[in-house]
């Protein structure tokens, strides 16, 4: 197991390097001049040249990358151009908030998807099974912004739930946070939940069609015991499915944040883009990408814990 984890972590290193290069180049390709953004339209050429030299922008691009990655590895993500604060602490705080929303919607999507998928797999031809099956297809098909707007409308009309932000009363209580979490989490989770439901239904019915299920019936095991075995066997597929959904979910969460004024990385990057705050954009995109890579390592590791054939 230790060797599996070591191998998997070593494998993540080249991926992370690749990710950082892509992030770096993307930022370089974005139109707009950070120097002009910083100094304003009336800067003297001398001031411009000084700033370019100070930011290292006169060096060749590969060297700029090395400088940047070296600083990143030492925990220095630069200074935000618009906010004049350390990007590291800004991004970290925002990402913490994003993580809360991400985990909440991942939980909703997985739990809902597993429950719905199990119903479809166990009773594919029943009325309930058909209803669930078409409901999850519906959940996949509704665009996220429609869901978000409908939820907003619902919240405004009923006044039951807060429509934006993370805290209302400012007392920072858990219940208050939870109330603010409900709508954005549902908005982000709905589509992935539908996908998880449909894919898990297929995975579980595949397991139920395997020969060992009939063998267990022939041994007199109860239906509940057999379903337990089958769920265990469908777990690796579930991990793969949810692992893939995390990427989609992260994208959805960043989008949903701007709608529900959730103070996360999505909102931050969104405002950073409007102010051409390159270091902030760069750090926001980088941390999201790194999290995705790490999630995949976690998924693979849990997969190996569940399935002895993988870790051998």
């Amino acid at each position: 197991m230790t060797s599996f984890l070591t191998r998997r972590l070593l494998l993540a290193i080249p991926i992370l390097i690749g990710v950082s290069i892509v992030v770096f180049i993307t930022i370089k390709l974005i139109p707009g001049d950070p120097v002009a953004a910083l100094l304003g339209p009336n800067a003297t050429p001398q001031a411009r040249a000084d700033l370019v030299a100070r930011m290292g922008l006169n060096k060749p691009i590969p060297l700029q990358y090395v400088d940047w990655i070296w600083a990143v590895l030492h925990g220095n993500l630069g200074t935000s151009i618009s906010l004049q604060q350390s990007v590291g602490s800004l991004v970290l705080k925002a990402f913490g908030n994003t993580l809360i929303l991400l985990v909440a919607s991942l939980f909703l999507a997985t739990l809902g998807g597993v429950v719905l998928g199990t119903i479809v797999a166990l009773r594919p031809r029943s009325v309930l099974g058909r209803i669930v099956s078409s409901t999850s297809l519906g959940a996949i098909s509704i665009p996220q912004y429609t869901v978000a707007l409908l939820l907003l409308l619902f919240a405004v009309e009923t006044g039951a739930l807060p429509t934006g932000g993370m805290h209302g009363t400012g007392d920072g209580s858990f219940g208050d946070l939870l109330a603010h979490l409900v709508l954005p989490a549902i908005a982000a989770a709905l589509t992935p939940m539908g996908i998880v439901a449909r894919m898990f239904a297929v995975a579980l019915s595949d397991v139920l069609a395997q020969e060992f299920v009939e063998s267990m019936r022939a041994r007199g095991l109860s239906q509940a015991a057999i379903v337990r075995h089958a769920m265990h066997n469908a777990l690796p597929s579930l991990l793969t499915i949810t692992g893939l959904q995390v990427g989609y979910l992260l994208g959805g969460v960043l989008f949903v944040e701007t709608i529900f004024a959730w103070p996360g990385i999505g909102q931050q990057v969104y405002s950073a883009i409007s102010s051409r705050d390159m270091p902030l954009i760069q750090a926001g995109v980088l941390i999201s990408a790194v999290v995705l890579v790490l999630v995949n390592v976690v998924v693979d590791t849990v997969h190996a814990l569940v399935d002895p054939r993988v870790r051998a």
Binding site: E211, F212, R217, A218, L221, H232, R309
Partner: protein
């Protein structure tokens, strides 16, 4: 409340199993019909099969794939649930199984009737250790509730099926064992509750030839030891010859011939049985002399008329009357039943011994 009901069920199931032991014919199948509904069409896979299993004896159910032999075996245990319509009667001792309550039936499966599946690699949960899977069955049938003692019991079972290092196997995952080992584990689970009847569906088909012989020997040994009735489903005449006492030959969902293995294989009374024997490769016979049965058996979804012999299109003795009238399974000699009224109780054929002899002479010449 639920515990009380469970206890009641268990004693009742135990009672059924004990009573079954008093009957000479532990399991009686009468006029068994199994039909499936596929896309609103009724498909009858088994039609009017009669079988009698006797304690300590082996009945071989012989036939090609698609003949309905595996369906028969599964239908006895009602493994198809609601997806199949089962007609006729299956009795364990004096208890009718086709109408028995499902929760009682679960006690019968694995308790009174053990089953060894065809593919040993697919018969175990791939993600759980072998020991845990045996203990689960022991707990289910109340052989041993305690986990530690259950494990010891499981080790004993593994030794009994010829596994010399039970400790290692108990801790192994199924994928870490060879096919033969896995089949031994499957057999150990099937006999864990000392069943009255053991059903083995092509238990050696997926195994290497050398392992096949060992597993067949194990069956014979266990049967003697536990005084079980064994129903062995196979397409392999060789397997029938080695382990069988009696044989029932199936074709297109019906029995075409029954009798003792020795007699049926020596003097087949149905052209299909004779065809199976002629198609058997014997040492010394060149490939060209194998007599394959022309054509192929009808699949379960093909319509087989109830008023014709299903084998007639492939039969070299077929008469025009064979397609107008289905010959019933009748006694052709004492203890021998066959469903053919053309050959008159014995198929005229070249004896295998002669075929072998001819081949040998030719080889010498």
């Amino acid at each position: 409340m639920s515990t009380a009901r469970a206890t009641l069920n268990r004693t009742s199931v135990e009672d059924i199993i004990t009573r079954a032991g008093d009957h000479e014919h532990v399991l009686t199948v009468e006029d068994l019909t199994v039909a499936f509904t596929r896309r609103r069409r009724q498909i009858t896979a088994v039609r009017g099969v009669d079988l009698t299993l006797t304690a300590g004896r082996t009945l071989v159910l012989l036939g090609e794939s698609g003949s309905g032999k595996s369906v028969t075996a599964r239908a006895i245990l009602r493994l198809y649930g609601r997806s199949a319509t089962i007609g006729g009667s299956v009795r364990l001792g004096d208890t009718e199984l086709t109408t028995l309550d499902e929760s009682w039936m679960r006690g019968i499966r694995g308790g009174a009737i053990g089953m060894v599946p065809q593919d040993p690699s697919g018969s175990l949960d791939p993600l759980r250790r072998v020991g845990a899977q045996i203990v689960e069955v022991l707990q289910r049938h109340d052989v041993e509730q305690d986990e530690r003692r259950g494990r010891a019991y499981a080790g004993g079972l593994l030794e009994r099926v010829g596994i010399h290092d039970p400790g290692r196997v108990l801790d192994a995952f199924p994928f870490e064992l060879s096919g033969g080992m896995r089949q031994r584990v499957a057999i150990a689970i099937a006999i864990a509750c000392r069943p009255r009847v053991l059903i083995a569906d092509e238990p050696t088909t997926a195994l290497d030839v050398t392992v096949q012989a060992q597993v067949l020997a194990l069956f014979t040994e266990l049967q003697r030891e536990l005084d079980m009735a064994l129903l062995l489903v196979t397409h392999d005449v060789g397997v029938a010859r080695i382990v069988g006492d009696d044989v029932a030959v199936m074709y297109a969902g019906r029995l075409v011939e029954t009798g003792s293995v020795d007699e049926v294989l020596a003097r087949p009374a149905h052209p299909y049985t004779a065809g199976l024997l002629d198609a058997l490769p014997l040492p010394g016979i060149p490939r060209g002399e194998l007599l394959a049965i022309p054509g192929r058996p009808p699949g379960p979804d093909e319509l087989v008329s109830d008023h014709a012999c299903a084998f007639a299109p492939r039969c070299r003795f077929a008469q025009p009357s064979c397609t107008r009238h289905r010959p019933p399974l009748v006694e052709v000699r004492p203890g021998r039943l066959a469903a053919c009224d053309v050959v008159g109780g014995e198929v005229p054929r070249v004896a295998p011994a002669t075929r072998g002899a001819t081949a040998r002479t030719e080889a010498v010449a």
